[in-house]
Each structure stands twice: as structure tokens, then as C-alpha cells.
Amino acid sequence: MFPLAVRWQVIRNCQRGLPWDSIVLHAGCSLAEAHEWWENFQHHGSPWGDDAIHDRHADAARFNAPFLRALDGLVRSHPEIFFRELSSIFKRLAVLPDSDERWPTSSSSLGEVLRLIGFSVKKVERLAGERSLALVVAHCRLSRHIPDRCMVVADETHIHGEAMIRLRGRSLVGQPLEALAPDPRPRQRFSSIVAISHNTGILELTVNEVPPAQCGDD
């Protein structure tokens, strides 16, 4: 977020009639932001969108010590969830003992708050890598002595309709290879929940028709 002085500087430069590219180059902001501040100023004489609110949303996140502590603890203990949907972070924060149901931040300001408490993307990736490696070794040590016949593995998978159709044959000379093109015929998408075991192969199987989705998590 840009400080108030930068916003006023952009507005003053606009009043002087400087070109937009030099204004944004000098202020270090984007052209869209500079336009927004200038329009806000023309509308009600202030660079803020709402002069009564200012930027209290971001400030509330920055100066909320319990929230910053909760976020710090979460990123240290479960860094891998910061690679998923941001909603999962808020779900984890909501189950903390001293959680406030209305944490003063949103997904859009989460990255800014993370950088504020010293967690860049690279640092989160490094933490996740170290934690994953330790967990993998711990898991291997734990399951090393479990015989295969005792182990049942379960998971679910999805298959899109287009993935069910595989065209065969060679393409004609000068024609695009049809086998690499998605098939336009509509096919049902399926979700399968499967459990396998060493002694029986497929132990349990549930096949469900599911509506189209953007990804498997849907």
C-alpha cells in the first residue's frame, strides 16, 4: 500500500499537468492506481476512495497483534497451506483458540501482511520444503515395519469426459494431429473413490457421476 505522501504527490503532479508515464515512474505506482487517486481527488478532494474510512482495513490487519501472532504461528507450523486456496488459511485461523471470527484481513491483503511479518514467498517455500522432508522421513520410519497385507490405501480421482476418448491412427500429411486435440464430444465426468489392498487388489469402489468442474478440488 502506498503512503499518503505518495498519493498526494501524484495528485500534485497531475495538477501541474505532467504526463502520466512520468508521474507513475516518479511515484513507483501503477497507472491504474494513479488514475484511481486522481479520480478520487476530483470527486471528493481526497486520494482515498472513502475519506471517512481511509485505509483502515489494511491498518487493522497490520496493527492487530493477536492476528499477526496467529498468522506467524500458522505459517511456521503449516507453511504448505499457503500454496493452496487462500480460503483454507482462514479456515485454519478460525480454529485457533483465541481466534476472532472476523479477522481483519482478506485474501487480497494476506500477502501484504505476510511480508510485513517477514515471510516472503521464498521463505514460505523453504519452510514447506523442510517440513515436508521431515514429515516424509517420519512417515517412512513409521510405515516401514507395517506389512503390505495390513495396509489399505484409499483415495479419490476424477476423470474428465474428454480424457476418456483417445483417438488413434496417424495424421494425414499436412494435417494437424487429431490425437492431440481435445475431443469436442460431450462426455460425463466421473469421480471414483477407491480402496486397494495387497491381498485383494480393488477392495472398495464407488463410481459417481459428477457435474463439470474447473478442477478436481471442486
Binding site: V137, S143, R149, A154, I165, S197
Partner: protein, 135 residues
């Protein structure tokens, strides 16, 4: 699933005692609790480690079978195609996936693959970024 017998050696435990699954967000903690109350021992895969699960190559077999069946028998109903795709995976193939997952598990254990250890040089080494520190 059978109930886990606490205190018994693994050699004496009957089959199907441990349920291994991943950390997908769709897994319900209530279901975990029900399984635990029924005596099953739950084991979660570490994050981002599908190579340690024997079910992922089974899914690859299943999807290949679906494509084959759809091509050769387009008259089959969709649901039947999926069930047949799973049913046509031989037991020996599944057991092979179990063996591969077991080898992958050993590769991560420095006490087995480290210098002077019984499996040193037997299994292909892990990439440097995945290799645990040597003991």
C-alpha cells in the same frame, strides 16, 4: 477394514488394519473419528508425497483402461466402463505397485540407504533436494 489389535506384533496382525490416505481438504475429520472408533489405524501421507502411495499408479492404470474401453467398446454404458476399468487391473499389478511404493519408502531412509547400510547402492538415489541428511 479390520480392527487394529493394540500390543500385537505386526506379524500377528490380521490384514487390512491400517488405512493410508492423503491430505486432501475433502477428507472429513468426522469420518476419521468414526474409522478410529471402529478400530482402524489411520495413516496420513505427508504433504505432496504421492510417490509414497501405491494407489496413484493404480489410477494411471484405471485411466488407461477407461480410454481403451471407450475406444474399443463405445456401446458400453459409462458407469460400467469405469467399473470394468478398475476390475481389469490384475492383482499382480496392484501388488507390484505396493512393492514400488515400499522401495520408494526405503529410499527416504538414510539408516537403510546411507554409507555402510544394507541398501547402499541397491536403490537409485534420491534427488539432492529430496535427500534427507545422513546420520
Amino acid at each position: 477394514m479390520n480392527g487394529y489389535v493394540p500390543g500385537a506384533l505386526w506379524e500377528d496382525q490380521p490384514p487390512h488394519r491400517v488405512l493410508l490416505y492423503d491430505n486432501a481438504s475433502v477428507h472429513n475429520p468426522v469420518a476419521d473419528e468414526i474409522l478410529t472408533l471402529n478400530g482402524a489405524l489411520l495413516l496420513h501421507l505427508p504433504p505432496y508425497s504421492p510417490n509414497l502411495s501405491s494407489i496413484e499408479p493404480t489410477f494411471a492404470d484405471y485411466k488407461r483402461n477407461v480410454r481403451d474401453l471407450t475406444y474399443h467398446h463405445p456401446e458400453l454404458p459409462d458407469r460400467l466402463t469405469h467399473v470394468l476399468a478398475f476390475a481389469s487391473i490384475p492383482l499382480a499389478t496392484t501388488q507390484g505397485h505396493y512393492r514400488e511404493a515400499r522401495r520408494e519408502l526405503w529410499r527416504h531412509l538414510p539408516e537403510l540407504t546411507g554409507p555402510g547400510r544394507p541398501l547402499q547402492g541397491v536403490l537409485p538415489p534420491l534427488p539432492i533436494e529430496l535427500a534427507p541428511p545422513q546420520p
